[in-house]
Symmetry: C2
DNA sequence: AATAGGATGAAAATGGATTTCATTTTCGTC
DNA sequence: GACGAAAATGAAATCCATTTTCATCCTATT
């Protein structure tokens, strides 16, 4: 493998700095994984990322993707979520404000949501119990508009 | 095994009704598992429940505990939570109002919390996006008072 | 180019949870 | 009370996402 290590985006720089700051080195595998990651949108699993990476460099191993995904999370570029579907899903966190998720229980469609007053109340709840809040997870589950229609149609038919 | 099927608590009745309503039968195993479950407090894993059950009836198998725990969840008596510790933890949900959790990231101490205004806002968030909210999960992570002290002490020492 | 510590991929291991399957139980029917 | 279909059980096997192992390869520094 013969790569030129040029990664110019802000996010890429953060990753490079993270590696340098932790005595880790940039490698062809890490480069292609991070580049591929940076091109993704939305929420995806490690397996999905692996498949994308292998379109470019088929010999990258899954263990390396898992390992690099961990580095991405630690460097603050990625965030991992458990939506209850059995696999961890990742998403960008650099340049993405904090948000929570509204998930359709039927088609898995996800909407990113934030409510400042909820965030404030969470702080208050924690403080009231003497805890120092470090982070939180909030996931709202329901039926998306499309799936509501589908369900209504199904009910009408039966 | 020779059991007398007397389960008098409200919760036990709900379970019995759930079984009847679904063409399932009460069995000695289900009985001891449910009784043991009803005696627990707080949050516990399937393995922990299995251990408790086996103190009374050693020959109960783990698969049966997993299976019965699922029935307990379906019947509305139990709730399962993923606190990120690698195993599902269960808790009573009959006679327990809905609540969310504030969890210490160091000692796992859990406080049950509710904030009506957060619950209302969640509804609004969902509706604003056209979703029909069915349920939600909210978990606040932080350091409990005791662990804050411990951490301060450690920092002073180093 | 020598070297030491990292990094990698294939394969094996892990571990919670689920499934399989041969054997029992349950429960309505005779 | 015995019968038989359907359900339930336990032990063991299996699943499956993720992690670990380990022999080999690469990177950065001299
Ligand atoms: Zn939030
Ligand atoms: Zn949907
Ligand atoms: Zn709530
Ligand atoms: Zn604590």
């Amino acid at each position: 493998m013969d790569f030129i290590f040029v990664m110019t985006s802000e996010a890429a720089k953060i990753f490079v700095d993270y590696l340098a700051g932790n005595g880790l080195s940039m490698t062809p595998q890490r480069k292609v994984i991070v580049e591929t990651f940076l091109e993704t949108k939305g929420h995806f699993s490690a397996e999905e990322l692996l498949a994308l990476v292998q379109k470019t460099v088929p010999e990258v191993g899954q263990a390396t993707v898992y390992r690099t995904l961990k580095l991405l999370v630690d460097s603050g570029l990625a965030e991992s979520h458990d939506f209850g579907c059995g696999v961890a899903l990742y998403e960008h966190s650099y340049g993405h404000e904090h948000h929570d998720h509204l998930v359709c229980t039927r088609c898995q469609k996800k909407v990113e949501v934030v409510d400042e007053s909820i965030e404030k109340r969470q702080e208050i709840l924690a403080r009231k119990n003497g805890y120092v809040l470090t982070n939180h997870r909030m996931m709202l589950f329901g039926l998306c508009p499309a799936c509501q229609k589908l369900r209504d149609k199904e009910e009408a038919e039966s």
